[in-house]
Subunit: 260 residues, 2 copies
C-alpha cells in the first residue's frame, strides 16, 4: 500500500511541516520505500517532484521538507509498490491536461485486473500501474462528458463520484484528485482529515520530533485542510473518512462531504 | 529571448556540468531572470523541475547542478519573458501526453499574434505564452495525423518539420521537442551542438570557472550530444545550426540533419 497527503488552503501555504512527517514513512517509520512524489498548484501552474528513491533517504525530499513552496493545493504520495515496478513512470502523482488545467491524481490501494478492461479514451498510461490506468480512464470519462469546462463543477463532482464507485468495486481505492481549484478525496478504507483555522494551536508530528506553532505562521483568516492516510500529528483531532465518502475541498474548506 | 539546453545520450548521463554553465545565464552572466525549467527522461519516465525564480539564485537550480540525475534525454530552458507574465504556468518546458509518452517542449523566440488563430485540437494551453500555444497546436496536429504511435517516426518527423516551417513564418522559432526516444531540435536563428565520444577530452565552461575531464567519467562506448543556444564551453568546436534546419538525435547520435 501507499500513503497519501493532500492540502487545500485559502492562502498560499507551505506543506513543509506535514511533508516532513510523511517522508519519514518512506523507509524510516513506515515501509513505503518505492518512491514518492508531490504536486504543488500555484494558481493553474503546477510543479511536480518525482523520485523513485525512498523519501526518508532522498536529497530531493529533504529539500522539499526545507524549502517553503507556497501553494493552494498539494497532492503527495509515498509508494509501497504492488502493481508495476519501481521506476519513474510508475511514481505518483500522475498528471494530464484537461480544459487547459493540469489534473493531478494519486492513489492508495489496489484494483483487480478487470480494471484494464475499462475503455480508455483520450488519455493513455505511461507506466504499468493500476493507479495511472484508473486515472486515465476517469479523466477520459470526464472529458467525454464535459469536453469544455462547465460553469461550475457540480456535474463533474457527480461524475467523479460515479467513477469512484465503479472503481471501488474492483478493490481498495483511496484517492486524491485536483484540477487546480478543487481537491477531491475519495475513501474506501483509510483517509483522515483536519481543518486548521483561527485560533491556531501548536501541533506535534507523530513520525519525528517536530512541533510547529501555527499561530506564529498564520493570519486569523487562514483556513487550511490537510488530508492523510493516517493522522500526521498526535495532539489534534483528525476526522476519519467513511467508506464510499467523497470530500471536496475548495480554498481550505469542505465544500461537499457525503457518502453514497 | 531565452536560452535552450538539450542532451541526448546512449547511456544514462547527468547534465550537471552543462546545467551549471546554463544556470549562470539566468541572472548572472546572462539576463534570463524570468524562471527556468528542466525535464529529464528516464526511459518513458519524465521528471520535470520548474521554478519561476532566476536560476542563478535558485536553491532548486543549485540542487540540479549538484545532483547527478542520469538521463537519456534532457530539455532545459531559462526564460527572459516576452509574451506572458512571469509565473509557474508560463515556465518551460511544457509537457503533454500522446501515445502514452510524455512529450516535452521548450522554445526560444517570439511568434506573432497570428499564431493564436491556429486551431487547437486535443491540447489546450494552461498559461498565456506563445510557446505553449505553439506546442499545443503542433502536438494536436501530430495526434490528428498519427492517433497511434507509428512503427517508426519518419512520417512524424516530416510533420514536425512542416509544423516548424509554418511557425517560422510567424517569427523566431528555435525549439527542442521530445517524446522520450527522439530529441528534435529546430533552428531559425540560434542553436549550436556538439557530439562528445571517445577519445574524450577536458572541457572548460564559459560561464563559470569549472572544467570537467570527460574521459574520467565516461566509458569508450558513450556518445552524448549537447545542444545549446550558445556554446557552453570555450575549448571545443560547436556546430551552429542553420536557419530552417531540423536535427534529430537518437541515443546521442545525429539521426537526421537537414535544411528545408
Amino acid at each position: 500500500m501507499c500513503e497519501l497527503l493532500g492540502m487545500s488552503a485559502n492562502v498560499p501555504t507551505d506543506i513543509c511541516f506535514s511533508f516532513r512527517g510523511l517522508m519519514q514513512r518512506g523507509g524510516c517509520t513506515g515501509p513505503h520505500r518505492d518512491g514518492w512524489g508531490i504536486a504543488f498548484y500555484e494558481g493553474k501552474g503546477l510543479r511536480c517532484f518525482h523520485d523513485p528513491q525512498p523519501s526518508a533517504e532522498s536529497r530531493l525530499a529533504q529539500l522539499i521538507a526545507d524549502y517553503p513552496i507556497k501553494s493552494g493545493i498539494v497532492i503527495s504520495h509515498i509508494r509501497q509498490a504492488n502493481v508495476g515496478g519501481v521506476c519513474l513512470e510508475n511514481t505518483h502523482p500522475f498528471s494530464r491536461e484537461l480544459w487547459g488545467s493540469p489534473w493531478t491524481f494519486a492513489h492508495n490501494g489496489q484494483l483487480s485486473a478487470e480494471l484494464f478492461q475499462l475503455p480508455l479514451g483520450f488519455y493513455e498510461p505511461t507506466g504499468s500501474t493500476d493507479s495511472e490506468y484508473a486515472f486515465c480512464w476517469m479523466l477520459g470519462e470526464i472529458r467525454r462528458q464535459f469536453p469544455k469546462r462547465p460553469s461550475n463543477l457540480i456535474g463533474v463532482q457527480k461524475l467523479i463520484r460515479e467513477c469512484c464507485e465503479q472503481l471501488r468495486l474492483l478493490g481498495v481505492f483511496n484517492m486524491l484528485l485536483s484540477e487546480s481549484t478543487h481537491l477531491f478525496a475519495y475513501c474506501t478504507t483509510k483517509l483522515t482529515w483536519i481543518t486548521r483555522c483561527s485560533p491556531f494551536n501548536q501541533a506535534q508530528l507523530r513520525d519525528c520530533e517536530m512541533a510547529v506553532d501555527f499561530q506564529a505562521v498564520t493570519t486569523p483568516n487562514d483556513v487550511v485542510t490537510v488530508i492523510a492516510t493516517e493522522p500526521l500529528t498526535d495532539n489534534e483531532v483528525w476526522h476519519p473518512m467513511q467508506c464510499g465518502e467523497l470530500l471536496v475541498l475548495v480554498e481550505g474548506e469542505v465544500a461537499l462531504m457525503g457518502s453514497a
